[in-house]
């Protein structure tokens, strides 16, 4: 079929993956989205339950969203029980995070229902986690290597918009990671001028949505030039044209998150448009990285 893509061992019926943090904390919402998506990524989870930050944690603005949810999750054990109810209509990618190689890699054993894992090395608004960890390349190597040892399932690394993004991509490739996911949200903030206060309780958060699409595209482009492992592009995709841009830049698949603000059925709509597009221009798989070719 024209929308089929594969990312290593993972075969997807289309290149549209639900991004982590969007409608992914319970099976009930994942089960609706899984009907149309190529795959779904869950909300990021750690061993212990985490409260996350106090509200306000998410706002919408003219060109996307701004969030500092603060990595809120139920315990890995509870989340695993919750995910037992997943309907398996598409592959399930469980997003995992933690402070150490041991913490993160040990999570894989708790999710037998996962078809793959995505390691969160890129959340920009929690101290000591996510993007902070990505600053320590030795630690990143440990985390990726340990996780690959502990599971046979595909492991992806979600990396941040940062000046070391290429180095991180190369480390992932060295550690035989099955693909990199680029990018996460980019640091930003808003201020309410009447109350004269930052809008988010954490003061700053991660910007997502159409505002960050050009930056995300640049990252995918650069990674495609430098590494051979698959790239999953994410950042501001709201239309089928955006999807094609990312594929041409070098992505084998894409993730969609903020666009759910516009419609719960956004993946279904984009999928239908892509089907029409491929009827004229040929299968998606043949377009991967085509913008790089002479």
């Amino acid at each position: 079929m024209t929308l089929d893509v594969s990312i290593g061992k993972l075969r997807l019926k289309n290149p549209l993956i639900l991004a982590s943090g969007i409608l992914g904390s319970y099976s009930s919402s994942l089960n609706i989205i899984s009907k149309y998506a190529g795959a779904v990524v869950t909300k990021s989870v750690s061993f212990e339950k985490r409260e996350g930050y106090k509200n306000p944690v998410v706002i919408n603005w003219k060109h996307g969203l701004l969030n500092a949810v603060g990595l809120a999750n139920m315990s890995a054990k509870d989340f695993s029980n919750e995910l037992k109810k997943f309907n398996k209509a598409c592959p399930l990618i469980v997003s995992i995070y933690g402070y150490s190689a041991e913490d993160i890699s040990n999570l894989t054993a708790l999710f037998p229902m996962a078809d793959a894992f995505e390691i969160n090395l890129s959340c920009p608004h929690v101290k000591g986690l996510g993007a902070d960890i990505a600053e320590d390349q030795e630690l990143v190597k440990d985390i990726l290597a340990e996780t690959k040892k502990k599971t046979r399932k595909p492991v992806f690394a979600k990396i941040p918009y940062s000046k070391n993004i290429i180095e991180l991509g190369k480390i992932a490739e060295e550690c035989k990671i099955d693909g990199v996911v680029a990018i996460n949200t980019i640091k930003g903030l808003r201020i309410d001028i009447k109350s004269r206060k930052p809008v988010l309780s954490n003061i700053f958060g991660g910007v997502s949505g159409e505002a960050i699409k050009p930056m995300a595209l640049k990252c995918v482009w650069d990674l495609y030039e430098e590494i051979k492992i698959p790239i999953i592009g994410v950042g501001g995709i709201t239309t089928y044209e955006d999807v094609i841009e990312f594929i041409l830049a070098g992505a084998s698949a894409v993730q969609i998150g903020s666009a759910f603000f516009y419609s719960y059925k956004i993946i279904k709509s984009i999928k239908e448009s892509l089907e029409s597009f491929t009827r004229v221009y040929g299968p998606i798989s043949e377009l991967i990285g085509a913008a790089h070719r002479v």
């Binding site: 943090g21 969007i22 409608l23 992914g24 904390s25 319970y26 009930s28 919402s29 089960n31 609706i32 909300k43 996350g52 106090k54 509200n55 306000p56 944690v57 998410v58 706002i59 919408n60 969203l65 969030n67 949810v69 809120a72 808003r190 309410d192 009447k194 109350s195 206060k197 809008v199 309780s201 998150g257 903020s258 759910f260 603000f261 719960y264």
Partner: protein, 239 residues
Amino acid sequence: MYSLRVVKVLKHNPSISTIYFSNEIPSYPGQFIMLNVFNYEEIPLSLSSQNSVTVKVRGETTKVLANIPTGSLVGVRGPFGRGFTLTSKHSLIVAGGIGIAPLLYLYICLKKINSNVLVLYGAKTREDIIFKNILKNDVIVATEDGSEGFQGTVVDLLLEINNIEKFDKIYCCGPEGMLKRVYKVLRDKNLLKKSEFSLERYIKCGIGICGTCVLKNGKRVCKDGPVFNASELAEEFED
């Protein structure tokens, strides 16, 4: 997000207050706002009118809000969510405790379009029964301790009403246990399709994307609700 000033705080009793804002919020009954009590937390509150919310003290933020000085600024996001469907014919409102809040806004709107409204309103004790001056003769009160009106819960009272099939719309809001019981009464009488429930869940983003408030059927309370047609709620209330 924008800011509004508090112009009046009506303390109904030590634990329930209605906070009035400087401006009307263009909205529909059943919708809610995310209200930011600066230096505390942003919480979801159903609008009890175009320019008010009615809050019951449950924790730190609600305690501060229930006693907030007039002139204070509060942050507002919204209004959010799907509201009630109005009718100009016969309507039945079933309110449990603080569930009266969104139902008061609904009541005001129904009266404006000349609907024939009957309100069944139950609470633990007479102190918790508020807005009597607005509901006037349209309300039948129930108190669990019998300190006012019918003795029993509002569900007990509902079972005493004859021919609830004659109502064109039935609206309900209150604690989860009460909603479940009312659901079963309506189901047994085949009245789910003409009934609407306003649900409450823990809310983070309020705009339908974080997934914190999803029901067992995957619908989002903040965006697909908080008002739902009762026929959509089988997964939630059936055992």
